[in-house]
């Protein structure tokens, strides 16, 4: 494994009972690369990203983060997981904590940062996404777009080496998708390594280096972004694109 490989997934398989949700998935993401995963519903995209930081267990295969193999459980797994940021479809902010407490929770309790230092960093990041005035608010008092931007900040506060996004805009009002994508685009430009599950093909076109297309639990093809949109190799991807770009 070479040093520019940030995330490597090899032969990852997972089943729910008789249903195989991931079949022998392999993928290597370089440092600073933005990879978009797309495909029809139920194709295993979300499950794949959740396996990458080990919040979903898998039966076979291996994941490496910066060359370090992800253990299936225990303290070592938690330590490695903390280095990869994760943004969820439904934000998953902690509803009983204020925005500032949400952002500082893991830095203080996992990284053992002093509270004042964690809070200073949180405030700087909040300012970057234009939400400096919301630090005392509770999640339920914010719009979906604001919540998702704060979820991104919460992940960034851990100084992650890579970020995983699981359909970050799917639960948002159409009007709020833009503000979240803008933050993600800025992150991509800053050189963050990102794996993004999304149906936002516009984002894929402007930010992704490569596109992964999945169907029925398998990775069907991995292409450079331009090549994928110009001429996907598989019929399944062609059909998917024609449907999703037609409307």
């Amino acid at each position: 494994m070479t040093s520019h490989e940030m995330i490597k997934v090899e032969g990852l398989s997972k089943s729910f009972g008789p249903l195989e949700v991931l079949k022998e998935c392999s993928l290597t993401v370089r440092r600073g690369e933005v990879v978009v995963i797309c495909g029809p519903s139920g194709s295993g995209k979300s499950t794949l990203v959740k396996c990458i930081n080990g919040i979903e267990e898998f039966e076979r295969g291996q994941v490496w983060i910066e060359g370090e193999a992800l253990p299936s459980r225990g303290r070592a797994a938690a330590r490695l997981r903390a280095r990869v940021g994760m943004v969820f479809q439904h934000f998953e902010l902690y509803p009983h904590l204020t925005v500032l407490e949400n952002i500082c929770l893991a830095p203080v309790h996992v990284l053992k940062r002093p509270r004042t230092e964690a809070a200073a960093k949180a405030r700087a990041l909040l300012a970057r996404v234009g939400l400096a005035d919301k630090e005392a608010a509770y999640p339920a008092q914010l719009s979906g777009g604001q919540q998702q931007r704060i979820a991104i900040v919460r992940a960034l506060a851990m100084d992650p080496v890579a970020m995983l996004f699981d359909e970050p805009t799917s639960a948002l009002d159409p009007e709020m998708i833009g503000e979240v994508l803008a933050v993600m685009l800025e992150l991509a430009r800053d050189g963050m390594t990102m794996i993004v599950v999304t149906h936002e093909m516009g984002f894929a076109k402007s930010a992704a280096d490569r596109v992964v297309f999945m169907d029925k639990g398998a990775i069907v093809e991995i292409d450079e972004t331009q090549a994928f949109f110009a001429a996907p190799r598989s019929d399944r991807a062609r059909l998917f694109l024609s449907r999703i770009l037609a409307h």
Partner: protein
Amino acid sequence: MTYSWNWGVLLQEPYLQWLGWGLALTLAISLSALVIALSVGTAVGVLRSSDHAVLRAVTGAYISVFRNIPLLLQMFLWFFVVPELLPAGAGHWLKRDLPYPEIVTAIVALGLFTSSRIAVQVSAGIDAVPRGQRMAAKAAGLSQLQAYRLVLLPQALRIIIPPLTSEILTIFKNSSVALTIGVYELTTQTQQIQSITYQGFEAFTAATILYVAIAMTVTVIMRAIERRVALPGTTSGGLHVRF
């Protein structure tokens, strides 16, 4: 009915004092049992919600045993049977040397009985927290213990405040079962007054008023707690308002 009312009996010595001691003991037993019930119940409820099959089985058995045996029988078992089952030394200590054995037994029996019911509520509360919360905590690198302490329990406990309130009310009422193993709590003292003075209506009315006063106090306190921990932007402490 030729009943000669005499409300004044309640204010006479030693009956007023008996009522006072009874009330004090009822409060002491109930509150001590509540401490046991909350701590054991939370611990068992947390383990019950884990995905570890053995832990689920063991906590399930604990809940079945303590929830399905009548409280009265549990009091008798702890008081009369358990000391006989223990090694001789421990049994003797329980029967002879333990100060106020009937009070300690009542607290333990009531505490463990109630803990099984609170455990069910706590684990149901944890199950009611959206699954994504557990994932978010895990993704951030929190340990299991931290995830429960910092993320899951604060939400679960808010959800179960209403059923927990009933449970706390019940613990005060259930403390009267301690009468059967000879604890001089409120109901026992009332019965004593009745059997000595024959003023049963007055004595039991006093006990009724005191129990109702306790219940109302508990309700007011719990409502205040519920209001205090309610989250801004949600209705009645609800946690699932997302958009």
